[in-house]
């Protein structure tokens, strides 16, 4: 018989297998999930969850899909959080410090409490990437925030009302489009293809007999 623990889903007690994730525990209890469940593997941020262990004052945040239950765990899910998403035209914005001031001025109201970092389900240094955004250091902000799954727990804990994941999203797009080094071999190849330079080679290959295609495939040289 598998070892069981007690979890309190929205305050109601259920006995669930000790090895279950919080998400599996909810399903074990009989829930049919619609919200609060996405990739089930820590990439999509759908299952942000808050919990406390009875007797412990500290409030924890996690992703329900990739956190094991504990005995006497009190669970509340946060399947949606009203983040502020500023709308902009990526072709018209520029990676200047002003753009953050225009689109997300509240980041300058950060009080440095670090609640965002403590709450991050990915263990990111959220307050640090907001500091980079304040200074217009978008490359650093992009790198520091890269693993963000946009679950929104950081924002739920922020006294300044900052929508951290959206700030980071803007920083990454600015970095990817304007600051990252230009890839010359890519641009060159796109031009060459537009000019039709690779068309004949491809057509010739496609016109080969099935036997010849097999031979070409099975004897092709593989780059080391």
């Amino acid at each position: 018989m598998e070892q069981m623990v007690n979890v309190y889903l929205y305050g109601k007690r259920y006995a669930v297998p000790a090895s279950a994730t919080i998400m599996e525990a909810m399903e074990f209890a009989g829930y049919q999930l619609v919200r609060g469940c996405g990739c089930r593997n820590g990439f999509c941020g759908a299952c942000a969850t808050l919990y406390r262990i009875a007797g412990d004052r500290e409030l924890h945040a996690c992703l329900a899909c990739s956190t094991k239950v504990e005995d006497n765990m009190y669970v509340a899910t946060l399947p949606f959080f009203p983040l502020v998403k500023a709308v902009y035209d990526i072709e018209k914005v520029r990676p200047s410090q002003q753009i953050m001031m225009q689109l997300y001025p509240e980041i300058y109201a950060c009080v440095g409490c670090n609640a965002c970092t403590k709450a991050c389900t990915q263990g990111l240094n959220v307050m640090q990437y907001i500091a980079y955004a304040q200074r217009g250091e978008y490359e650093k902000c992009a790198e520091e925030s890269f693993d963000c799954v946009m679950c929104g727990v950081c924002s739920s804990r922020c006294p300044a009302g900052i929508s951290h994941p959206q700030v980071a999203m803007l920083a990454r797009r600015l970095n990817g489009k304007y600051l990252a080094p230009i890839c010359e071999h890519l641009d060159k190849r796109v031009e060459e293809i537009k000019e039709g330079r690779y068309e004949a080679l491809l057509q010739e290959l496609m016109a080969q007999s099935p036997e010849e295609l097999r031979r070409l495939y099975n004897t092709r040289d593989i780059e080391k």
Binding site: S19, E24, E27, G30, Y31, Q32, L33, V34, R35, G38, C39, R40, N41, G42, F43, C44, A46, S66, T67, K68, K85, Y88, D89, I90, Q122, G123, A142, F146, D147, M169, R172, R173, L174, N175, G176, K177, A180, P181, I182, C183, E184, H185, L186, D187, R189, V190, Y198, L201, L202, L205, M206, P210, L213, R214, Y217, N218, R220, D221, I222, E223
Partner: protein
């Protein structure tokens, strides 16, 4: 640290053999060896797991049993429902909020069409978000679209629809450029050169990546762009049936609010079906790397409306699903782990195959190792082989894992396994639907004005897909479907939308005496302990 004594003892053998294994380059299998291996061990060859369709446009076609039940299931709605009042009216209706749907929406919008997106869960709850390893494009010297074609065509067992594959490889570099211009961050050297690696079955290093969050980085950027453009996204709203007009052209869909179950009507001039894959149907009892909503809905909707399927009997089992611990059983361990140097090792510490064979071959070889050869590691869930991750830093230096595959480090780290120091246990997991609805090179299905893009399409990859060609296909064919759907919509005079095709399908089921006892599309898997279907 592995607590289980059998697992721990085997991990010791792997560690002891590491210095020897690191210098071995296991030979690639011959064509004959691969064919024999697949026939004996690949799940696609287990005849008793398939069923022949008795009703519908692909009658006579073999499909997985679980899919047959849904394709030949009954509608969730009454075909006689009142369709006069439209809740939404648009030029282009995109069904599905993954990478293909988002790309289609952006391009349809760019072309000036009125476009809207409906999605069963949230925008971005899709397999795109979970794609880790990368995206292929022949954009480096020494490589060419033709070389990319040869790799994919051979890797797909010479079964791909040639015109679709030619489009895929030819438009690949432009797809990367488009993403890059939207702000997607690719791994680059300081001079701007793309950092590219091999995937299984590639002959050139053309795998572009954004660490091991490649799909997530692409998806979140596309989603941001859809919102910036003001394209309406109706989330938690699934299509449950397509609408056809009196001349059989697709004219919209019946939608269902996933929370209130309210039915809604969306009228459209053209429709892009981008509903993704089927991993959550758990074919043959396999675990899956797919997201929660991957239940083959698009195949069901399209099939009932009269669209033929192509290769629905070929599934991709990703060779390296996590086999331990139980909490991540079946989760994807990206092929990039092998691209950057980890080898596949059996319970005895032997490097039993070249780590960069194609996915179907690798999966079959792992199944062979764990069954007839008896070289698997016993785990609580069955058997597994090792993926020797510490090799990566042994080859490329400390810090490589955190830099190149941080998501993998995090996923195992959560359960106390440091992949820099310890190898990990893997076994094949249901990953991708190679087949799907048949399309023309413009992305249109057999049903006029019904376009299909992404994993719901069959034929681009043949009977096996290479790593990095799926992120590519959702972009290339998603964009193309959006453009063509917008252009086509401009010339459409809406007719009277109806569900008579559903009525006819029900009649055909009755006539053939088929009663699978299920309603479809399935929408969500049944994981609740009460066993109640959604």
């Amino acid at each position: 640290m592995y607590q289980d004594p059998v697992i721990a003892a085997s991990a010791e053998l792997v560690a002891a053999a590491r210095e020897t294994n690191i210098h071995i380059d296991p030979p690639r299998m011959t064509a004959q060896e691969k064919e024999d291996l697949l026939k004996t061990y690949h799940p696609d060859y287990r005849e008793d797991q398939f069923e022949v369709l008795r009703v519908g446009p692909s009658k006579g076609q073999k499909v997985p049993r679980e899919l047959a039940a849904l394709l030949q299931g009954r509608s969730r709605i009454s075909p006689s429902m009142d369709l006069r009042k439209a809740d939404y009216e648009t030029d282009v209706l995109v069904i599905g909020g993954g990478g293909a749907g988002a790309s289609a929406a952006i391009e349809a919008h760019q072309a000036g069409a009125k476009v809207m997106v409906v999605t069963k869960l949230r925008m971005g709850d899709a397999n795109t978000m979970m794609a880790e390893g990368g995206i292929q494009a022949a954009d480096k010297p020494g490589d060419s679209p033709a070389q990319h074609f040869l790799d994919a065509y051979g890797g797909g067992h010479f079964a791909a629809q040639k015109d679709l594959l030619a489009k895929l490889v030819t438009e690949a570099p432009e797809a990367i450029q488009w993403l890059s211009n939207l702000g997607v961050e690719f791994d680059k050297a300081p001079d701007g050169t793309m950092i590219t690696t091999h995937g299984g079955g590639t002959s050139r290093k053309r795998m572009h990546a954004a660490k091991d969050y490649s799909g997530a980085e692409i998806m979140r950027t596309l989603r941001d762009e859809v919102i910036n453009r003001g394209i309406p996204v109706i989330d938690f709203t699934s299509a449950v049936e397509l609408l056809l007009d009196e001349s059989g052209r697709c004219a919209g869909a019946v939608l269902m609010n996933m929370e209130t179950r309210e039915l809604l009507i969306a009228r459209a001039k053209t429709v892009v079906l981008a509903t993704g894959g089927a991993g959550r149907l758990h074919y043959q009892g396999f675990p899956t790397s797919n997201h929660y909503g991957a239940t083959a809905d698009g195949l069901v909707l399209g099939y009932r409306a009269g669209a033929r399927l192509l290769y629905p009997d070929t599934l991709q089992y990703h060779p390296t699903g996590a086999a331990f611990p139980a909490q991540i059983f079946g989760a994807l361990v990206t092929e990039k782990v092998r691209s950057v140097g980890a080898m596949l090792i059996n319970a005895k510490g032997q490097a039993f195959m070249n780590p960069l064979e194609t996915r179907d071959v690798s999966a079959a070889a792992i199944i062979r190792e764990c069954s007839d050869r008896g070289n698997g590691v016993k785990t609580p869930a069955g058997y597994a082989v090792w993926l020797d991750t510490p090799m990566i830093e042994r080859k490329h230096g400390p810090g490589t894992i955190e830099k190149r595959i941080p998501a993998m480090m995090r996923m195992f780290g959560k359960y106390g396994i440091d992949i820099r120091k310890e190898p990990i246990l893997v076994y094949p997991t249901l990953h991708y639907q190679n087949g799907g609805l048949k399309i023309s090179v413009d992305g249109q299905s057999d049903v006029e004005n019904l376009f299909v893009a992404g994993e719901a399409v069959g034929g681009i990859h043949g009977r096996n897909r290479l790593m990095g060609n799926s992120l590519l296909d959702i972009i290339v064919f998603g964009r193309s479907a959006g453009r063509h759907a917008a252009a086509k919509a401009a010339g459409v005079t809406p007719g009277r939308a109806a569900l008579s095709h559903v009525e006819a399908f029900h009649a055909a089921l009755d006539q053939a005496g088929v009663d699978t006892g299920v309603v479809s599309p399935k929408l969500l898997p049944t994981y609740n302990s009460l066993g109640k279907d959604f």
